[in-house]
C-alpha cells in the first residue's frame, strides 16, 4: 500500500528510539487502554453495518413486500450481475473513477511543476488553484449545472456567444455528454487536491542533487524522468489512492447534475436509489458488497499497473 511507503521512515524512527525499559514495564493493558475506545467505536460504526449488509445481501427483502422476506441465496448477486442497469452502474463507476483520477492527477502534476518555480504572485496563484477544492461538493455541482452548463444562460454558452456572435453553437452540455459533464466538474475539484500533495512532494526534493545533475549536463527531461518522477512516486501513489477512495464513492455530483439519468448512475447512486426509492433492501445490499470488492480492486490493481512500468525503469 502506498501510504505505508510514505510513513515508513517514521516507522523506523519509532523502532530505533524504542520504548525504553521504564515504559515497557507497565502492562499490556495499560498500552491498549487508550486505543480501545477508538477501536471499538470504529468496529461498531463501520464493520458491524457492513456485516449486516452482507447478511441482508443474501436475503429477499423489499420493504414494499414485507411478507416475502426470507433467504435468497445468491439471487441478489445474480440480479446485480445480470440486470443491465446494475452492470451499467458498475461500468459508469469504473469509467468515472479512472477518468477523474487520471485526468486530475496529470493536470495536478503539470500545475504542481509550474508552481514549483519562483515567480511573482506564486502565492496568489496557489490560492486560486485550491479554491475549487474548498467549494462544498453539492454547491460545486449546482454551480456547474446551472451557472456553467445551462444551455440558455450558462457561462460556457454565454462565452461562446460573446466570442463568436449570435450564431455561435449553443450546445446542451449535460444532455449531449452527461458523463463527461460530471467528470469535468469532478476534475475541477480534485485537481487541486492532487496538485497540493504533488507540490508538497516536489518541494521535499533534495535540490542540491538536482543542481548537481544539471551542472553535469543532464537535460530538464532527464532530470524529470530520472529524478523527479521516482521521487514523486510515493506522492503520486498516495494522491491516486486517496483520490480513488473518494471519487469511487461520489454521490453528490451524480445526484445533483443528472440525478443518475442519461446513463450516469454510478454504484453509490444506484444503491441509494435501490434502497431509498425502490426499497429493495436485498438487492441494494448485494450491490453494496460489490462496491466494496470493487473499491479494493481499483485501489490495488490500478496502482499496480500504472506504476509497474516506471518502477522497472528506475531500477
Amino acid at each position: 500500500m502506498s501510504s505505508s511507503t510514505a510513513t515508513r521512515p517514521r516507522t523506523d524512527q519509532v523502532g530505533d528510539a524504542g520504548p525504553s525499559r521504564a515504559l515497557k514495564r507497565s502492562g499490556d493493558w495499560a498500552r491498549r487502554a487508550p486505543l480501545l475506545p477508538a477501536l471499538i467505536f470504529v468496529i461498531l460504526m463501520t464493520q458491524l453495518p457492513f456485516v449486516a449488509t452482507l447478511v441482508i445481501s443474501f436475503m429477499n427483502w423489499n420493504a414494499y413486500y414485507p411478507d416475502e422476506r426470507g433467504f435468497a441465496g445468491f439471487d441478489n448477486f445474480a440480479r446485480v450481475f445480470t440486470d443491465t442497469n446494475t452492470r451499467q452502474a458498475v461500468v459508469v463507476t469504473i469509467v468515472l473513477t479512472l477518468s477523474v483520477v487520471i485526468v486530475s492527477l496529470l493536470l495536478g502534476l503539470g500545475i504542481a511543476l509550474l508552481l514549483d518555480r519562483k515567480f511573482r504572485g506564486r502565492g496568489v496563484v496557489r490560492t486560486m488553484m485550491i479554491t475549487p477544492f474548498l467549494i462544498v461538493p453539492v454547491a460545486a455541482a449546482l454551480l456547474w449545472k446551472h451557472a456553467l452548463y445551462n444551455p440558455e444562460y450558462g457561462l460556457f454558452n454565454g462565452l461562446l456567444k460573446g466570442v463568436f456572435g449570435d450564431n455561435a453553437p449553443q450546445p446542451d452540455w449535460i444532455t449531449n455528454t452527461p458523463l463527461a459533464a460530471i467528470v469535468a466538474a469532478l476534475v475541477w475539484q480534485w485537481t487541486p487536491f492532487m496538485m497540493l500533495i504533488l507540490l508538497a512532494g516536489l518541494q521535499s526534493r533534495p535540490l542540491d542533487v538536482v543542481e548537481a545533475a544539471r551542472i553535469d549536463g543532464a537535460s530538464g527531461w532527464q532530470i524529470f524522468t530520472n529524478m523527479t518522477l521516482p521521487h514523486l512516486r510515493q506522492y503520486i501513489e498516495l494522491s491516486a489512492l486517496l483520490g480513488a477512495i473518494y471519487v469511487v464513492q461520489n454521490f453528490d455530483h451524480v445526484f445533483t447534475i443528472t440525478s443518475g439519468g442519461l446513463g450516469t448512475a454510478n454504484l453509490p447512486y444506484f444503491i441509494y436509489q435501490t434502497f431509498y426509492t425502490a426499497q429493495d433492501y436485498g438487492r441494494a445490499s448485494a450491490a453494496g458488497v460489490v462496491v466494496v470488492i470493487g473499491t479494493i480492486l481499483i485501489a490495488t490493481a490500478a496502482l499496480r499497473t500504472a506504476f509497474s512500468l516506471f518502477k522497472e525503469e528506475s531500477r
Partner: protein
C-alpha cells in the same frame, strides 16, 4: 533577457542553470492563466450572486450589470439558519469527538505502541475504503428502529467514525516525533497518563491536531449522502438544504449562487486561513 541571448558563447548548461527569462516568463504566465481558469467558476458564482435574477440569466453574460443583494435576500428568506446551525453542530461536535478518540489511540500506536500496531493502523485505513453506501442501509434501519432518524446525534456519531481513521493516521505521524526521553522522565516522576498527554505530548503535536481538526470539519460540513438519507426537516444539514433549493419555477440563478457561496464560506475561510494544514490533513500526515 539580454544576458542570455546576447552572449552567444554561453554554454548550454549555464543557460539552463540561469533559466532563460523568456521561457520563465512564459511558464509564469501559464501558471497565472491556469490559476485564473480554475478560480473563474468561483469568481463567476460570486459575481452572479450579486446580480439581479434578470441580469444573471443574460446570454451573452453582462459582467457589468448593476449589483444587488436580491439573491442573498431570497436565500435567507428560505430559512437557511436551522440547516446551517445543524451543519455547524454536526461538524464541530463530531470533530471534537474525533480528536477525543483519536489522540489516545494515536498515542497507543506510536509512543507506547501496542503489539502489531501497524496492523491496527492499517485496519483503521481500510475502514476508509469501505464505501459509505455499503453500510448505509443497516445504519438507516437501526436508526429507524431506535428512533434516531432525523436526529443530529446519529449524524454526529457517523461523521465521527467517518473521520476518525484520518485523524488517527495524522496524529500518529506527529506523535512519532515526540522525544521519548521526555516521556520517560515524566514516567519516572510519576506523572499520570492524562497529565503526560497534556503537558508533554500535546504541545509537540498541536499542528497535527489543527490539521486533523480542519480536515474533519471540512469533510463533515461537505457530507451529503448520510445526511440526505438519515435526516429530514429537523436535523437536515446545509448540503441537504441546498439540494432542495432548486425546485422553484422561473429564474433562480442568483439565488443558487448566493446559497452555494454562503454554504461554502466556512470551508473557504478555514481552507484559505490554513493552506499548509490542508496539505497535511489531505495526505493524512504523510506530507508535512
Amino acid at each position: 533577457m539580454s544576458a542570455t541571448t546576447s552572449s552567444g558563447t554561453t554554454s548550454e548548461q549555464e543557460v539552463r542553470h540561469a533559466r532563460p527569462p523568456r521561457s520563465g516568463v512564459l511558464l509564469s504566465a501559464a501558471a497565472w492563466v491556469i490559476g485564473i481558469l480554475f478560480a473563474l467558476p468561483v469568481l463567476w458564482m460570486v459575481l452572479t450572486s450579486f446580480h439581479h435574477e434578470n441580469d444573471a440569466a443574460k446570454n451573452p453574460p453582462d459582467v457589468f450589470a448593476p449589483l444587488s443583494l436580491d439573491g442573498y435576500r431570497s436565500f435567507f428568506d428560505a430559512g437557511p439558519w436551522p440547516p446551517l446551525l445543524n451543519s455547524l453542530t454536526a461538524s464541530v461536535l463530531s470533530t471534537a469527538l474525533v480528536l477525543l478518540l483519536a489522540f489516545p489511540a494515536a498515542y497507543a500506536l506510536s509512543i507506547r505502541p501496542v503489539k502489531k500496531w501497524t496492523d491496527v493502523l492499517f485496519f483503521f485505513l481500510s475502514t476508509k475504503m469501505l464505501p459509505v453506501v455499503a453500510g448505509i442501509l443497516p445504519l438507516y434501519l437501526f436508526a429507524q428502529k431506535v428512533g434516531l432518524l432525523d436526529n443530529i446525534w446519529w449524524l454526529i456519531l457517523l461523521y465521527t467514525s467517518m473521520n476518525l481513521p484520518i485523524a488517527i493516521w495524522m496524529l500518529r505521524s506527529f506523535l512519532a516525533e515526540v522525544p521519548v526521553e521526555m516521556l520517560e522522565a515524566a514516567s519516572v516522576d510519576g506523572a499520570s497518563l492524562p497529565r503526560t498527554l497534556k503537558d508533554i505530548v500535546a504541545p509537540v503535536v498541536m499542528p497535527g491536531i489543527a490539521s486533523a481538526a480542519l480536515i474533519c470539519f471540512i469533510f463533515s460540513w461537505n457530507e451529503l449522502l448520510l445526511a440526505r438519507v438519515l435526516t429530514s426537516t429537523v436535523a437536515g444539514t446545509a448540503p441537504v438544504f441546498l439540494t432542495g433549493f432548486v425546485t422553484s419555477q422561473g429564474l433562480f440563478l442568483a439565488k443558487v449562487c448566493a446559497a452555494s457561496f454562503v454554504v461554502s464560506l466556512p470551508v473557504l475561510a478555514a481552507g484559505f486561513a490554513a493552506q499548509d494544514k490542508l496539505v497535511q490533513g489531505l495526505s493524512m500526515g504523510a506530507v508535512k
